[in-house]
């Protein structure tokens, strides 16, 4: 199994939206390597003929009647928002400066 480098950990952190510090990169690179080496043993018995299980209970889509039911009001839905404005969530800019 391939070992995991510091650069790969930095890439994973970026994908996962974690602004990790330089010290954390050193710590996690070592730990993730040990963990991934340990769990790689699943490949020893997972042969091609075994079907995968994603869920213990066979899942079927659940439908319900298309009727209005009580739900959170606007004020309740916004009650935990870091910032709200005019009844909406207020978020930082989502496009680049030049866009």
């Amino acid at each position: 199994m391939p070992s995991i480098s510091r650069d790969e950990v930095a890439h994973l952190a970026k994908l996962a939206r974690l602004a990790v510090t330089e010290d954390e990169l050193d710590l996690f690179a070592g730990q993730l390597d040990v963990i991934l080496q340990s769990v790689a043993s699943v490949g020893d018995i997972a042969t091609a003929d075994i079907p995968p299980t994603s869920h213990a209970v066979p899942l079927t889509n659940v439908f319900r009647e298309d009727v209005v039911r009580p739900s959170l009001g606007q004020q309740q839905a916004l009650s935990g928002a870091p910032e709200a404005e005019d009844g909406r969530f207020r978020v930082p800019r989502i496009l680049g400066e030049e866009a």
Binding site: L12, K14, F28, S38, V42
Partner: protein
Amino acid sequence: MTNDLIHATAAELAAKIHSGEVSSVEVTQAHLDRIAETDGKVHAFLHVDTEGALAQARRVDEAVKAGEQVSPLAGVPLALKDVMTTEGVPTTVGSKILEGWIPPYDATVTRKLKEAGVVILGKTNMDEFAMGSSTENSAYGPTHNPWDLDRIPGGSGGGSSASLAAFQAPLAIGTDTGGSIRQPGAVTGTVGVKPTYGGVSRYGLVAFSSSLDQAGPCARTVLDAALLHEVIAGYDHMDSTSINAPVPPVVAAAREGLSGDLSGLRIGVVTQFTGEGYQQGVLRSFEAAVSQLKELGAEIADVSCPSFDYALPAYYLIAPSECSSNLARFDAMRYGLRVGDDGTRSTEEVMSLTREAGFGPEVKRRIMIGTYALSSGYYDAYYGSAQKVRTLITQDFAKAFENFDVLISPTTPTTAFKIGERADDPMAMYKADLCTIPANLAGTPAMSVPSGLSDEDGMPVGLQIMAPALQDHRMYRVAAAYEAARGAFGGPSL
């Protein structure tokens, strides 16, 4: 009087409250006083809801006085794991990212408890996002094991189990993704049950690994756990994986078990869960339990489930994969912490800074492992293989249950370890869940019942009992019979 009230079982308290011998307010106040007196040492609670608890207790007392029919646990206090949302009461999941969050709605479990008249004393400490086996990963400091304050109370539901062992509450709610109800139960000398997956609604349970997460009852006796099980279980249209089937008759099974007769019951001892890495005192306690079960009339034989050796690695791929997806919702936009929004930074930068500041090291580790296991090029080798192991584990359970009614093992390889002992070694920490994980992967019910104290260190040991899906009542019958035969084993002094 107070001493009697905090040492009583939930069943005893319910009987006294419903007959008018004692009020729910008195019972609730006795437990609130006990918390005030002992939680400086134990730190089982993150939030105590004195006002809400007493208000609920008064409602029950009024109903009893008016001669109304009340539900079986009405008026009895309970400690609720801080992973369940509670309308108007803080819910942190042990994380800084939800510090100060007041949910606008109740989890289904919370709602059912309230409707049943159960008195919610407060919210209990836990490993952040239920990721851990020691409660040391809580952002709000560790919980201490009431049997030895230098030791861990297990995790992730260490707060719930410690509150029971410390007589701060007779009932508690936990959630079990890889053992987070059973392992804390084992190391604190209390009962912990993971019901069949889908038996208890996940609505309002802050998600860690959705295909594994299952809420369940915690108590000091098997009958109390059964009574609580029936309060929280049942179909819920708010959870698409909720099972639409009758709740297994666990209370009747627990009462039947108390008769102490297990004649003809076939019990399989899982041979994978012994040997190297298992503490001698744990194995001796387990052997003693096997002998007692034989005396009760059970037929006991060994059973091999070879794929169980691969359950731990499969779990530490599947659970992080699901968590890396689930925890994407903590984006600093709709609720919870927001860091670094100074007007110059983009949403993505604020998101990354917030998640960095709000998540602890174990959560970050698991998010990154999951991100890795799901990434193209590694998916087949890691996540795909883990899903195949899950199939094999389910098949091993099915084969074993052709010949046995229930399976047993120690709940944990060791008793409670010292706080800090495994903090820097994630793989050593993960091994605490070695015996509990297979039931999560297969979705089958499993529970831990105390099997006394280890002769080496005087710390509690747990006996794990596993049953087929929707046969939760089978394990309650065995556990109740065993509990009666085992007898009392004392309690911690605080």
